[in-house]
């Protein structure tokens, strides 16, 4: 096994709101090997996007450590942070909102090169060549170089977003719902593109999405989040074969399967969603959990390795609970 490219430990991000501290990301730890994809799934408000941004320091984490290529990047000053941007990048969800409407395709893709000083503004030929190469790599026709985003469809816009992220030649990419806003046929094109680029360029992805079929398709490992806490983490296949956490089970049972012969058994969730503002200690899913016990509310639960590389944070598992639970196959 190689050294992990990125290691996150105890990462927290709280937001100060008028009614108290919103615990968006609570004590998240994981490590990610080079050229692998970690999928992060969860429903809206579970903190998955905030996690991605906190790792990149687009939002300053409240506490924790982010080790990237052997250095804690949370200790970086502004100048080193700017250099770091060449090695860590992000692809955004909304290809309509993430591109400056007043900048052409060329300007958008050239912008990172100019900001980072890879090319000077005077070196128009070098810049143009770099942009054209990048466009070619992400499958954008050359004639679109002077187009503006509003003239293009969602799929092409998202290719611009990918090109902008890759033009600095990063090693690690946070992909924040990169295909959620796209139609299925376009979504498949972009997913394929991202897989090809991963192989060609040796990229490492943190792939954030709410779409479970997409995350299974692209990820090596999957991490399930609920209201800021990681509830389960396992290799992609195992999450689907053997989901352990009651929330993961409920989530998986709710996905509509595109096969009329597949009759789903729902794990129905009742009860109110816990507020992430100044939350009580303990499992945040407890109020909706069909298998809740008093132990769930005592303290925040640690992730326990139940089988090889399969972690879960639930009192039904682990040394304390000791009672192993029959799970769906």
């Amino acid at each position: 096994m190689s050294e992990p490219l990125i290691r996150v430990s105890g990462l927290k991000k709280y937001f100060n709101t008028p009614s108290g501290f919103l615990h968006a990301v609570e004590d998240v730890s994981f490590s990610l090997d080079p050229q692998k994809t970690l999928g992060v799934v969860g429903e809206s408000g579970c903190g998955k996007s905030t996690l991605g941004r906190a790792i990149l320091r687009l939002q300053e984490p409240t506490a924790g450590e982010v080790w990237f290529e052997g250095e804690n990047i949370l200790s970086y000053d502004a100048a080193r942070l700017k250099q770091l941007r060449c090695r860590m990048q992000i692809i955004f969800q909304d290809p309509f909102a993430s591109l400056n409407p007043r900048m052409s395709v060329f300007e958008t893709i050239a912008e990172p090169l100019l900001i980072q000083g890879v090319f000077s503004k005077k070196d128009r030929t070098g810049l143009t060549r770099a942009v054209r190469e990048m466009m070619d790599q992400v499958g954008l026709a050359e004639r679109l170089i002077n187009s503006y985003p509003h003239e293009l469809d969602g799929g092409r816009r998202q290719r611009i977003g990918v090109a902008r992220a890759l033009v600095l030649n990063p090693r690690f990419l946070v992909c924040d719902e990169p295909v959620s806003a796209l139609d299925v046929s376009i979504q498949a094109q972009i997913l394929n593109l991202m897989q090809e680029l991963q192989q060609q360029l040796g990229l490492t992805y943190l792939f954030i999405t709410h779409d479970l079929s997409v995350v299974k398709h692209i990820s090596d490992d999957i991490m399930v989040m609920y209201l800021g806490q990681v509830v389960e983490k396992a290799p992609a296949e195992r999450i689907f074969e053997n989901p352990l956490h009651p929330y993961t089970q409920a989530l998986l049972s709710a996905i509509p399967i595109p096969d009329p012969d597949y009759k789903q058994e729902r794990v129905l969730l009742k009860g109110e969603v816990t507020s992430p503002i100044n939350p009580e200690p303990g499992c945040r899913f407890a109020k909706r959990c069909p298998q809740v016990t008093t132990a769930c509310l005592k303290a925040n639960l640690p992730l326990i390795e139940v089988e090889d590389n399969h972690y879960v944070a639930c009192t039904l598992f682990g040394s304390a609970g000791a009672q192993h639970h029959a799970v769906r196959g």
């Binding site: 400056n100 912008e111 187009s147 003239e151």
Partner: protein, 302 residues
């Protein structure tokens, strides 16, 4: 809207249009706004030519025909020799109107350019830096609490009447409006994902403000400024009418109107003509402003 912007024919290469070019195309369709813009352009050309004439003749033409009194033709009605008639001192009203354009229109524009720059700067800073927002905006609130005309009157009263003082007074009076306008749109644009994208590639605040925020936040300010010129023009005329603005014999439309009202029973034309001049110019500026708003607002795009 969704239907037509998503699709670019694959085979043909279309001429690429930026959003500004798109807006210009929409503006051109609004005939009233285009006519008004041409009218404003015509006035500007007139003002520039009067300035050129004054510079080349060393003001002799101005002294000879615009301000020199000719009491024999006092209050004469419009005629072939004097198309707009003559005023209470026998001066040609047409020439005075023509020479007056620069005071009314150009000073309006100058005052608004000043307050757009200052107000825009304050607005951009307070919209972008949340920490400065409160201080700057409370200060703007204080200015806003005083009616702009009253504020301008007070400033002129303190500094004394005169061209520059009027300019300063009106400029200051309009700052808070523009600061608020730009701040509001900066606040919206700041939350867009492309700002975060710029930050993710390492862009600094200056670059983000100038290259990402301002171009996308300018539209409401441009509209507001155009409408502001109309307001400023009216304020200049108003101040002059009250005797606080530009002093006679300078042919400013507002002071022409003010001096003429004594003779309204004997000579209607010397009141009506400057009045009409002010009215038409303001109407044109408002129509241009409306046209710009429609052209720049992507929500109305269909």
């Amino acid at each position: 809207m969704k239907m037509h912007m998503n699709h670019l024919p694959q085979t043909q290469t279309r001429k690429q249009r930026s959003l500004w070019q798109d807006a210009w195309r929409r503006f051109k369709k609004n005939k009233l706004a285009v006519i008004s813009a041409l009218f404003i352009l015509l006035l500007s050309l007139i003002a520039i030519s009067t300035i050129v004439i004054d510079l080349t003749t060393g003001n002799s033409f101005y002294r000879q025909y615009v301000i020199k009194q000719n009491l024999r033709g006092k209050l004469d009605a419009p005629s072939a020799a004097h198309l707009f008639g003559q005023d209470e001192f026998g001066r040609d009203v047409l020439l005075r109107m023509i020479w007056g354009v620069r005071y009314s229109l150009f000073m309006g524009i100058l005052a608004i350019v000043f307050s757009t720059l200052v107000g825009g700067f304050i607005g951009a800073i307070s919209g972008y830096y949340a920490k400065l927002d409160n201080v700057l905006m409370r200060f703007m609130d204080i200015l806003l609490a005083i009616p702009s005309m009253l504020l301008a009157t007070a400033i002129v009263a303190a500094l004394g009447p005169g061209l520059v003082n009027v300019l300063v007074a009106i400029g200051i009076a309009y700052i808070p409006t523009f600061a608020r306008t730009l701040r509001a749109s900066v606040l919206t644009v700041k939350e867009q994902e492309y700002i975060e994208a710029a930050r993710a590639v390492g862009a600094d605040d200056f670059r983000i403000i100038t290259k990402y925020i301002l171009p996308n936040a300018m539209a409401p300010l441009i509209v507001q400024s155009t409408l502001g010129v109309a307001g400023a023009l009216l304020s200049i005329a108003g101040l002059s009418f009250l005797g606080l603005g530009i002093q006679p014999p300078t042919p400013e439309w507002g002071s022409m109107l003010s001096n003429a009202r004594t003779y309204i029973r004997d000579a209607w034309h010397i009141t009506v003509i400057p009045g009409l001049g002010i009215m038409l110019t303001i109407l044109a500026l408002n129509l241009v402003g409306d046209g710009l708003r429609d052209a720049l607002d992507p929500k109305l795009k269909s």
